[in-house]
């Protein structure tokens, strides 16, 4: 029943034999051992399993792995380019106190990165809407909103034509990619 499929995840190619009823979430976590992508409900309600598919946020628990073939998958492991070069969303989640238990964090960050890739200067209401598919039980969301606002500011700063190369200490992107820094859309 297994079939061999080729997946592209975070720019890397993987060949993996899976049965067709395996979800992308299961294959990422169990076959590719990319366990940063979480599973909070398996119903697409909580958003903890969010990944980007060709730059669009999707819930990996509701997608068959076989249907991800031919698409570029970005998981939380692909957001940072190096240990000390976090995506601005990640850096601001840490700095703003937007993380508590951390279980919603990877999905929340990908939703935030997706939002900022499409809307580099979101209003508060747009931030709330952009994150409305991700449940959090710890933070009451306030610090998460703040982190996204700060990440937007930082991306804006980095996108200015006169902006110098990114600051490695703070994880700002080098150069001016307003579409989500280290994310590979």
């Amino acid at each position: 029943m297994k079939q061999t499929i080729r997946l592209r995840v975070n720019g890397d190619a993987y060949e993996v034999a899976v049965p067709p009823w395996r979800t992308l979430n299961e294959v990422l976590r169990e076959d590719l051992r990319l366990t940063g992508t979480k599973r909070g409900c398996g119903d697409g309600d909580c958003g903890a399993c969010t990944v980007l598919l060709d730059g669009r946020s999707v819930t990996s628990c509701l997608m068959l792995a076989v249907e991800a073939v031919g698409h570029e998958v970005t998981t939380v492991e692909g957001l940072a380019t190096a240990r000390d070069a976090l995506h601005p969303v990640q850096a601001e989640f840490i700095a703003a106190g937007a993380i508590q238990c951390g279980y919603c964090t990877p999905g929340m960050e990908l939703s935030a990165a997706y939002l900022l890739s499409r809307n580099p200067a979101p209003t508060d209401d747009e931030i709330r809407r952009g994150l409305s598919g991700n449940l959090c039980r710890c933070t009451g969301y306030q610090k998460i909103f703040e982190a996204v606002r700060r990440a937007a500011d930082r991306l804006k700063e980095a996108a200015r034509p006169d902006a110098a190369a990114g600051d490695p200490a703070t994880g700002g992107p080098a150069g001016g990619d307003p579409s989500g820094g280290g994310a590979r859309p």
Binding site: D45, I94, G102, P106
Partner: protein, 780 residues
């Protein structure tokens, strides 16, 4: 990073790991040869198991173990080890099942598909027994009995009484009695429970499990399997929230360990969200009757508080809940006379357990709503009425607890100021075009002092190892489940030793690698108890290093030496000192290499029955009620709280915000809806906890006190605020609409029915919920 981190917005020490997805939670772990477990649960609420046939399941290729109740030792377990008669659970049912979801069998197989397939092959014949689903049915004469040892289904009763109740009511000018009901809600932590067991050649167990109480799991698992305590090692990896729902030994822990011992292979169980919501622990539903008397001027005279707790099928943490409700009913205000009686009642529902604020959200919804009703009747502003009766430092609940520091009155003043209370509230109810604001207050414990687990070890312990390279290793069993205790404990250590956060390496939550003991994360105990243990350990290291440096520079060790900025030096002549690392090397050399280690413990003594110290706070909620739909939007929540001295403002804010989210769900939308013992809404689609769009703006200020019992003066902040939110919102709904809710949640439908004077709707909904299953998801 500063070497003085206390009081600063220090980011979490595990922030990078969690932000990058590299933090490992139990289900992220996988071991070679690992088996996957699955649980068979009872589909019926109450039945005798007439026949169990596992042969077909066991014969399925790939199945390595099928376990039923009779395979396991018949040792009952439960957190109240001090009173063994309260320990009423078995990992797998032996003779009968008591709720829908009660675990009946466990399977372990080479993969999940096979394990699930095997479950379907187990045949169980149930002989149905009559079941009870509410307090009245469970307590009726001749009601079906859940546990033979408890023929009246009342498993625990608790009483608190002080003052002359009759005299108090007799001298009252105004007496009112109200009944409040509150519902079951879920912790809804994002990480479902998971556990991973390994056995060694001697059958000793290493259990990595999503828990907030490694020590409790260690002890209870050992006794359940007939092992000695330290033949079980429990490791707490990253935990995706607990809120009280992960503080017990659970059936999957027992089954995983049992199967690992039998097969010699690692075994992992991971629960589904459906299992969590349908069968998991929940907050106790309660019916609370409160009679309270006042003088005309608002002076409180007496309170009589009678509470029934619906415990579900097993005791779990019910004995604690039954006491704490009565304790919290006596908090906040100065009651000259008070009487509490609480009873914990078994029903054929999934058991209730500990949950954030434990006992206080229920007790304070009743207390605070009744205060607001009384204020209205007496014609006194609710904040004035509270100020008149507010607890002050040194107040006591006789024979139960003493209030230490208490900034309650200041909290009331501050929240009134922040929210523009006096102006906005001057308008009567229902006059604000659907807008309104309301108040609720809280007090909560900073750790529990009652030793219900009967531990012979300290309540908290810490070891600090200082090294000659300037790094320090902190070891403690204290368990960070997301609240940030690893960070705060490191802040405390860094502050005391004058080193940087990044100089500290930490091992925590591992029963084999960290000093015994620690009772875990509950009751807002970690910062105070583990924090004091860390502080004591740090002081020993400090003392040793200070002695060395004072000898070398001829300083007065008591008055003159400080540890600061990575140096051990004279306070007055900073040039007289050496780096921390050198001081450690010096101390070791002077003692023939003996390592520099500090060991600290904390166990409360002579602090009553409840806690070393209480937090206090006041909260005002603003709402917008749509009169036509009944929908309540919470637009802003103001909080003024006394959590002692703030050790990490960012972390404190995060706790307050999290409490508001959970409290708001409790107030308006969250409820585990039950039908014939089954949970009807066992998905996040229909279990409605607030999302990003629902959250109000939150503004919080700290009214700082300095509590002598807390490390650097700190008290709790992680649980208290949740109890204020529901009464504040309920009061705001009254102010906005004129309807005073005495039952939660205040759903749009219930509110509209009340405003329309239509009593039938709530009943109609309940009746209809019993005959219709939710639609499928409307998606593409």
């Amino acid at each position: 990073m500063t070497s003085r981190p206390i009081g600063k917005d220090v980011p979490r020490v595990d922030g990078w790991a969690k932000a990058t997805g590299s933090a490992l939670y139990t289900d992220d772990l996988s071991l070679p040869g690992m088996l996957h477990g699955a649980l068979l649960r009872s589909p019926v609420p109450h039945a005798r198991i007439a026949h169990l046939d596992t042969r077909r399941a066991a014969a399925l290729p790939g199945v390595k173990a099928v376990v039923v109740g009779s395979d396991l030792p018949a040792v009952r377990y439960g957190n109240w080890r001090l009173v063994p008669t309260t320990q009423d659970e078995l990992a797998l049912a032996r003779d009968k099942v008591r709720f829908v979801g009660d675990e009946v069998a466990a399977v372990a197989a080479v993969d999940r598909d096979t394990a699930e397939e095997a479950l379907a092959l187990i045949r169980v014949e149930y002989e149905p027994l009559p079941a009870v689903f509410d307090l009245d049915a469970a307590m009726a004469a001749g009601a079906p009995v859940l546990h033979e040892a408890t023929p009246d289904n009342v498993s625990v009763t608790r009483k608190i009484a002080f003052g002359d109740l009759e005299a108090g009511f007799g001298a009252s000018d105004y007496v009112r009695e109200d009944t409040f009901t509150v519902q079951a809600v879920s912790h809804a932590y994002l990480e479902p429970c998971a556990t991973l067991a390994q056995a060694d050649d001697l059958g000793r167990i290493t259990l990595t499990t999503s828990t907030q109480t490694p020590y409790i799991v260690q002890c209870l698992l050992a006794s359940t399997l007939g092992l000695r305590e330290n033949e079980v090692r429990v490791v707490k990896p990253a935990v995706g929230g607990g809120f009280g729902g992960k503080m017990e030994l659970r059936p999957w822990d027992v089954c995983a360990a049992f199967i690992a011992r039998r097969t010699g292979k690692p075994v992992k169980f991971t629960l589904s969200r459906e299992e969590e919501l349908a069968t998991g622990r929940r907050r106790h539903p309660m019916r609370l009757r409160s009679r309270v008397g006042f003088k005309r001027d608002g002076t409180l005279m007496a309170k009589d508080f009678q509470v029934l707790l619906e415990g579900g099928a097993y005791n779990s943490m019910g004995p604690t809940a039954t006491f704490l409700v009565g304790n919290f009913g006596a908090m906040l205000y100065r009651y000259p006379a008070y009487r509490y009686a609480g009873a914990h009642v078994y029903t054929n529902h999934a058991p209730a357990g500990a949950m954030r604020g434990f006992g206080a959200p229920q007790a304070l919804f009743a207390t605070e709503t009744q205060m607001n009703m009384a204020a209205e009747a007496l014609g006194i502003d609710p904040i004035e009425l509270r100020l008149k009766n507010a607890m002050r430092p040194g107040d006591e609940i006789p024979d139960v607890a003493t209030v230490g520091t208490c900034g309650f009155s200041e909290c009331l003043e501050r929240v009134a100021e922040m929210s523009g209370w006096r102006e906005k509230r001057s308008q009567g109810p229902g006059k604000g075009g659907g807008k309104g604001l309301g108040i609720g207050c809280y007090s909560f414990i900073t750790g529990g002092v009652f030793n219900w687990f009967n531990t012979p070890y300290p309540f908290s312990a810490a070891e600090v190892r200082a090294y000659a390279d300037g790094t320090v290793h902190l070891l403690t069993m204290a368990s960070d489940i997301g609240q940030g205790s690893d960070t705060v404990l490191q802040q405390i250590l860094a502050e005391e030793l004058g080193i940087r956060m990044q100089d500290i390496h930490m091992t925590a939550g591992d029963t084999a690698m960290t000093p015994k003991g620690d009772l875990g994360t509950w009751g807002s105990r970690v910062t105070l108890m583990a924090g004091n243990a860390v502080l004591e350990a740090a002081r020993q290291v400090k003392e040793e290093l200070a002695r060395m440096v004072s000898l070398r520079f001829d300083l007065n060790v008591v008055q003159e030496v400080e540890l600061k900025d990575g140096m051990v030096r004279s306070k007055f002549r900073p040039d007289r000192g050496i780096p921390f690392a050198e001081a450690v090397a010096m101390a070791q050399k002077a003692n023939r290499g003996k390592p520099v280690i500090g060991r600290g413990t904390y166990t409360p003594r002579d602090m009553g029955l409840v806690t070393p110290t209480f937090s206090f706070g006041a909260q005002v909620a603003e709402v917008d009620v749509d009169r036509e739909t009944g929908v309540t939007r919470v637009t802003k929540v103001y909080t003024a709280h006394d959590c002692g001295t703030v050790l990490n403002p960012m972390a404190v804010d995060g706790q307050v915000h999290g409490c508001i989210q959970m409290g708001m769900g409790y107030a308006l939308s969250e409820e585990l809806v039950m039908r014939d013992g089954k949970t009807v809404n066992a998905s996040f689609l229909d279990y409605k906890m607030p999302g990003a769009l629902d959250m109000p703006e939150c503004e919080a200020v700290c009214v700082e006190t300095h509590d002598p019992r807390g490390p650097f003066g700190a008290k709790e902040t992680g649980e208290g605020p949740i109890s204020a939110t529901a009464p504040a919102i309920a009061d705001a709904v009254w102010h906005a609409s004129g309807h005073r809710a005495t039952a939660l949640p205040i759903t749009a439908e219930k509110l509209l029915a009340a405003l329309d004077g239509d009593d039938s709707v709530a009943g109609e909904r309940r009746a209809e919920a019993s005959c219709a299953v939710p639609d499928p998801r409307p998606r593409g």
